[in-house]
Symmetry: C2
Subunit: 165 residues, 2 copies
DNA sequence: CTATAACTTGAAGTCGACTCCAAGTCAAGG
DNA sequence: CCTTGACTTGGAGTCGACTTCAAGTTATAG
């Protein structure tokens, strides 16, 4: 058994898809804890840290601002979230955000698919698009069109008379 | 039949969830076409414009930068995308982005759900998480846990001896 | 007539998230 | 020895996306 692998900032950057500068920046703003240093002062990271940074990267991809990620990371490791009741609400509410973000994204995918298929309709994409029962559909392959349920299309302004509206 | 409804910038802002300032800003950077003006110089918008702005809002929610939205809007109306072959590729590639964004988001949702359910595991959330066949799953209701297929969890660094790794 | 509100304009300011820079340290190779 | 490369630091600069500001116009109500 090795003593526990150590990674340089460069390796860490490669493994997490961040730049070295960004990792240092996160440390600077204390989003990440101060990394351990070797004798020469160089940072080094353990597998554990890499997982944390990956989670950070993942949250960032969901459009979460850094300040919201901050409390998230506290719970990232092996902590039981129930120990931080304050964060539990945070998590739950962010989960809702994400779910609605997914719905938004799905609408855009549907919009695009529709454009491809028919090239003429417009889909409504309002904030309240998914009220009621947000039926979950997620077709990866193109031939899957839009679900028929409760949809509102971009109507109006269809120069050549639209049937409904 | 009315002459066609006209909306002030304020009403438009309300209906699209943007601020008036933002709408003016988009006009300034020519993301939106110059709005028509009344005799007194005030902007007014038609239903059609509102749809366009809604689409803009929707794309923005998916994290698309304004400069990428720009060409998108060109095709938003009643245009057939096939007439703009350049945009078709754009659309297709953005669709792929979104699909992978959805996958990312879904991972975070799964991560959160797992935290809630077990409060002890860590899920991996790497960039290449969904390679191979991106099985599409999208559970809206909480009781839906994570799909069993090809998943990598946050492992490592589990202070109290982790089983695998 | 005045005051309030809803708009107009261009320009300047803010904020988050990097990204780059200059100056310095340290280790290894030629 | 000097150079190259990988790092360190603090601070400044950039960029996207707004947001605020100051000054002005016009319409309506009291």
């Amino acid at each position: 058994m090795k003593v526990e692998q150590r990674f340089t900032i460069k390796q860490t950057a490669e493994q997490t898809g961040m730049t070295e500068d960004t990792i240092r920046y996160y440390e600077k703003i204390a989003l990440l804890p101060r990394a351990e240093r070797k004798d020469n002062g160089h940072r080094f990271y353990r597998q554990e840290d890499i997982h944390t940074i990956r989670l950070l990267a993942c949250l960032k991809k969901t459009g979460m601002p850094l300040e919201e990620i901050r409390p998230f990371l506290a719970v990232s490791a092996d902590t039981d979230p129930a120990e931080y009741p304050e964060l539990v609400e945070h998590l739950r509410s962010h989960r809702e955000n994400i779910v609605s973000q997914i719905a938004s994204l799905q609408q855009v995918v549907d919009f695009i698919d529709m454009k491809f298929e028919e090239g003429r309709y417009r889909r409504d994409c309002s904030d309240e698009g998914m009220d009621g029962a947000p039926e979950n559909r997620l077709g990866e392959s193109k031939p899957k069109p839009v679900s028929p349920s409760e949809m509102r299309y971009f109507s109006g302004a269809t120069k050549a008379g639209s049937p409904l509206r």
